[in-house]
């Protein structure tokens, strides 16, 4: 299994969990699953379509995993982001973080999702009752140290 991937296929948290857990020295796995929600800003969402600049998205995910490994040495990570049309209740992203102890597993998984929202070139196209809109979040700057430190702060909160 590729630990970092952008895929049109449904995501499998069990696959990622098994991938990061294959080491007897580990004591904890924390997983995060992002789901497509049926409402946003008082709009009734019918589905989402995610678009990626795939080669750069993969590189950005790898950068994030490298950053997390420097912040929490020994942590093992896997992250898959789904693109294309995704139905309500389905997973758009799955993250698994394994470590010897729970604190680093929790922190690393939170860090990865915060950084994904900052620097990975993926976009949500929201379809709702009465229209559609591209969601625009963070200005992507992988060298922005203040943003990275904010992700560390949230991960350790």
């Amino acid at each position: 299994m590729i630990p970092v991937a952008v895929t049109t296929n449904p995501l499998d948290v069990g696959e990622l969990t098994r991938h990061v857990s294959q080491d007897g020295g580990l004591g904890a796995v924390s997983t995060f699953i992002g789901l497509v929600r049926d409402n946003n800003l008082n709009r009734r969402v019918t589905h989402l379509e995610y678009e990626a600049y795939e080669p750069l998205a993969v590189k950005a995910l790898e950068q994030i995993c490298d950053e997390a490994a420097r912040e929490w040495p020994g942590v093992r990570l896997a992250v898959h982001h789904r693109v294309g049309r995704i139905a309500i209740g389905e997973a758009s992203i799955v993250i698994a973080a394994a470590s010897a102890h729970r604190a680093h597993a929790f922190a690393a998984s939170r860090y990865v999702i915060e950084r994904v929202k900052q620097i990975v070139p993926i976009w949500k196209h929201e379809f709702f009752e009465g229209g559609e809109v591209w969601i625009e979040g963070a200005i992507a700057d992988p060298q922005d140290e203040a943003a990275r430190l904010e992700a560390v702060r949230r991960a350790c909160a």
């Binding site: 990626a52 590189k59 992203i93 999702i113 900052q118 993926i122 949500k124 625009e136």
Partner: protein, 81 residues
């Protein structure tokens, strides 16, 4: 020289295509390519202060030079997760 321009999300909608081929003068920067796009698609001007860019699938500064055959990507604010 010729460069391939890649556009995503709302920018792709505005241009009507996710991939364009455009001419750029020798010595042109990513910012020059962007200014050419805005001239062609004035609706893109509102992204002047929020755009990110990449050359050949690596993040780059707007001041970076582009070369013949480069793939220059313009990225509106991201919303993955």
């Amino acid at each position: 020289m010729r460069v391939t321009v890649r556009l995503f999300a709302r920018l792709r909608d505005i241009a009507g295509s996710g991939e364009l081929t455009r001419d750029a003068p020798a010595g042109a920067t990513v910012a020059d390519v962007w200014r050419g796009l805005v001239a062609e698609f004035p609706e893109m001007a509102r992204y002047d202060s929020s755009i990110s860019s990449a050359v050949n699938a690596d993040y780059t500064k707007m001041a970076a030079a582009v070369a013949e055959g480069d793939e220059v990507a313009f990225l509106p604010p991201v919303s993955g997760g």
